[in-house]
């Protein structure tokens, strides 16, 4: 059978099989994940506008998880040609951020301007109303037996 893989594909395949590269990828991912635990992740760089300095702030939620595994086996013989081993790993994660407030520092003092996410609040109102209407409708359907003694 003809081998259609080009030298660049072979190089790519070797890169994918390289355990050091896999570890490096995991390390980079973990570093990015842990960077969410810094103050710099929550507060942005101060922005100067005339005599006023504004510091934006946000809430950051970072979730990550990964796993690695390896194993080996043989076909019941001690022949080293009939033994094999393999390994693999995978992971994933997500970073969510939401603006919370802006800190305004002016010569007159420091004040905090909250950032209101109206869309989120309206969605919460509709969800709450839906939940309440659903619960009330279900309760109305249930007939309570009268306790006449």
């Amino acid at each position: 059978m003809a081998n259609f893989s080009t030298p660049s594909q072979k190089l790519q395949d070797n890169k994918l099989l390289d355990p050091n590269l896999a570890l490096e990828t995991v390390q980079t991912t973990m570093d990015k994940f842990l960077s969410a635990a810094n103050v710099e992740a929550v507060y942005g760089p101060p922005v100067s506008q005339g005599e006023t300095i504004i510091i934006p702030s946000a809430e950051v939620l970072s979730i990550a998880g990964f796993g690695l595994g390896s194993g080996s086996g043989s076909q019941g013989s001690a022949d080293p040609e009939k033994t094999g081993s393999g390994g693999g790993g995978g992971g994933g994660g997500r970073v969510l951020a939401r603006p919370v407030a802006a800190i305004v520092i002016s010569p007159t003092g420091v004040r905090i301007e909250p950032i209101v996410d109206v869309t989120k609040i309206v969605l919460a109102v509709f969800t709450t109303l839906g939940f309440m209407v659903g619960m009330i409708t279900r309760m109305k359907r249930i007939k309570h037996p009268k306790l006449n003694g």
Partner: protein
């Protein structure tokens, strides 16, 4: 992160100088490590701003999260409303 499954800590940022006053920002981090495998959760949120004057006086301003407060208030109101309705209906059924 490596030893305990749950950790809460308060972090302080670098000060911003405004005339003679130093302004510090503070955030609170909740770190949760998965008991199995690798990974976890990091929740970082702004908590307060500290203003320190040259004579040592410190003023702390908390950073309010209006959106979260509104959503939580709605959740509590809906639960209380549903419970009150259940109680009212049960009383009506008994009488």
């Amino acid at each position: 992160m490596r030893n305990s499954l749950l950790r809460i800590k308060t972090l302080t940022g670098r000060p911003v100088m405004v005339e003679d006053t130093q302004v510090y920002v503070r955030s609170q981090v909740l770190q949760v490590r998965l008991p199995f495998g690798n990974g976890g959760l990091i929740w970082n949120r702004p908590v307060s701003v500290v203003m320190q004057t040259p004579n040592g006086q410190a003023q702390i301003l908390s950073v309010p999260d209006v959106t979260r407060t509104a959503v939580l208030t709605l959740l509590v109101l809906s639960l209380v409303g549903t419970l009150l309705f259940m109680r009212f209906r049960r009383k009506n059924a008994e009488s």
